[in-house]
Amino acid sequence: MSLTYLSSAERRAREILEAYGSSPSCWPAEERQTTLDCIALSPALQLYRAQLAELDQRIQAEQAATLLRIGDAEALQQRILAQLPAQSGTSASDKTRLGQRLLRWLVMPRFAFALTSVAVLAVIMMMPRSPSIDVPPQTTSQYAAWSWYDITGQDLPATSATSTLTMTDFIDLELDEDGG
């Protein structure tokens, strides 16, 4: 059977036969019906499936024989149940589990990215905010905010409308600061 002339469905059906054998019960459940339909339309795949059946019969026979030899393992089952220890304390196990979950959460890239972003934002927010000294104030309100911060070290109070402050107020303040 040449792969050159196979459609993609036939190719996949062949791959499934090669990997999982001739028995549909061993095929991936979600592809079972498609594979059966495809085989039904292809004599070459039917022949290939028949060739694979012999190995599957050997496997099934060996599987059944193995289970028969092992039996029901009743004695071992009883031994396991008899020697079952008390489950470890839930608090310790919960702590371990919490630690593992936290670690898993931290190493997940998307959360790590989010966490880093939040941390960066928090640092920015905590930095003392001052008007940029690189760009001199262009308007009266910018000058007011810049000067007020420069002199008092605080933001301009919201209640202090810049319109009510005059240039003289700032000059007075600067003079006070300089001890003048």
Binding site: C26, I70, I80, Q87
Partner: protein, 206 residues
Amino acid sequence: MAITLRRNPLSNNDCVMDPSAIETQQLRQIAQGDKHAFAQLLSAYLPSLLGFIKRYVKEPAQAEDIAQETFLRVWQRAGDWQPREHSPRSWIYRIAYNLCIDLIRKQKPTTDALDELIAPDSPESEVIEQNQHQHLRTAIQSLPERQRTALYLCAFQGLSNKEAASIMSLGVDALESLLARARRSLRNYFASLEGEHHESNLSFLR
């Protein structure tokens, strides 16, 4: 809390509840310390899991120890089971598989442990049948470890491709590749065996 399986009144065999859902429920109950749920899970899994372990471990006592250790871990770590990562079945098999691999790494490779389970004084028909099984086991034993495990999990233990891939920490494509190569090797082995048999018959007739 006991687990009750709801059965379809029209059928004596068909279980209405999905087995995986039952096992999920059982594992959650085990995590709460429910011994009854543990006993049910143990009863359902032990024979097949022991069969799986015995393919790796030569000594029956060692195989039983690994089975016991597997279920001990199930009992103690049921709370750590992550449903998103593994189905209950693949989680249990993964524990057993890792224990087997650890033991194999400590020991030198041995022949298939199941070979030793064949009774030496069986009737002739059984001997022929056992020889056929023996051929298959020999052929499987000659496969690389990953191919063998993929075949054990999918063809012998009946696990789904996703479960087997998850146990072996593989993608499904890689698992399918291992399975295909394993099956091809086995078919070649039996083809050469039949060739030899045919040759010996011809030489007898000459």
